[in-house]
Symmetry: C2
Amino acid sequence: MSGDKAVVLLSGGMDSATAAAWARARWPWVGALSVDYGQRHAFELQAARRVAESLKLSEHRVIKVDLRAFGGSALTDELAVPKNRENIGEGIPVTYVPARNTVLLALLLAYAETRGARHLVMGANVLDYSGYPDCRPDFLRAFQRVANLGTKAGREGAGFEVHAPLLHLTKAGIVCLGYQLGLAFELTFSCYDPPEEGIHCGACDACRLRRQGFAEANLPDPTRYAT
Amino acid sequence: MSGDKAVVLLSGGMDSATAAAWARARWPWVGALSVDYGQRHAFELQAARRVAESLKLSEHRVIKVDLRAFGGSALTDELAVPKNRENIGEGIPVTYVPARNTVLLALLLAYAETRGARHLVMGANVLDYSGYPDCRPDFLRAFQRVANLGTKAGREGAGFEVHAPLLHLTKAGIVCLGYQLGLAFELTFSCYDPPEEGIHCGACDACRLRRQGFAEANLPDPTRYAT
């Protein structure tokens, strides 16, 4: 296991892209993993591919896990994505995917182990985390323990570290960090329900947090919104 | 989340089948999950289907995760499975799948959450665990913590419980328990490298532990071995 290698979860959204840029600035070898868990549109994965190329990551892998076999979320089912809802950031949203980050981190861990990478990086974010329980610090610490107890590399080596560099940043803070790292935000894609390729709806939770982030950071927003 | 519902990982081998029979005797609703992670043969999944029918489980789901996208194990790569090796049970075998039980439990957790099931059951076994680090009690406890911190149901409800009823049993003990529960062992399939459908090679680690288990339990072995 090498302390010079990191793997990062790359969805194609602005948070994971910023986390990937952060990792790129820190370690010589960074592999990105995108998980295709039956999202309703492929734009996110295309964005992930463009971001990985733009950041010159060492590798980009896509793994399919068809969570639709279970059902239970608007992001993978055929339910409607809520638009312009009140109380954004409060409660657990219907766009919650069951055990999503546990599944994503488990796959990232498997990927890390095969590549001998010690650092697991993800764009989890606690302040405007929009109600997902699996974006919290205590969860991430608990997963790091699982990683070290449950793998050959963790038992024998220096130990895995789970990094969530955006954990305590606001969306505006993420925009600032991304700008500092030279991230091309126009390549990222956040919208839960895009009207067409490359266009953000502007009304779902993800679009509203995105737009607000650029506005509060007082930095140019390159995003094309429908409304 | 219901205390009357359990989900169980069902590979089709004798351990997971015994764990499923144990769950069946305990809870009125038991759903089985088989994970198709790119195994080299489909016999295991067929065995899982037969076992689920025979035990009259409430549901049986199969989810695909192509771990071959990463590589790193004889069970999913095109490497040779070792035959008649010395020191069985010592060290971590080449048949180790990266972070396997972390990935399997994460998927089981996602399945449990969508079904409102509180109990996660798996056939992990520590005494003759053949060197897998992710079959140990401390790992299972750590995963239970992840489950409760990382999900809506775990945060809001009575909490998930991870059960590994075979954890401290020998293979002979598993055979005894399976017999007590009326498990049809002839439906289960353990071999890593079967010469043909329904036939166990008799020489890989899994076959040797299986045969030894029946012999030590002094109970009839219904398995058809090639050698």
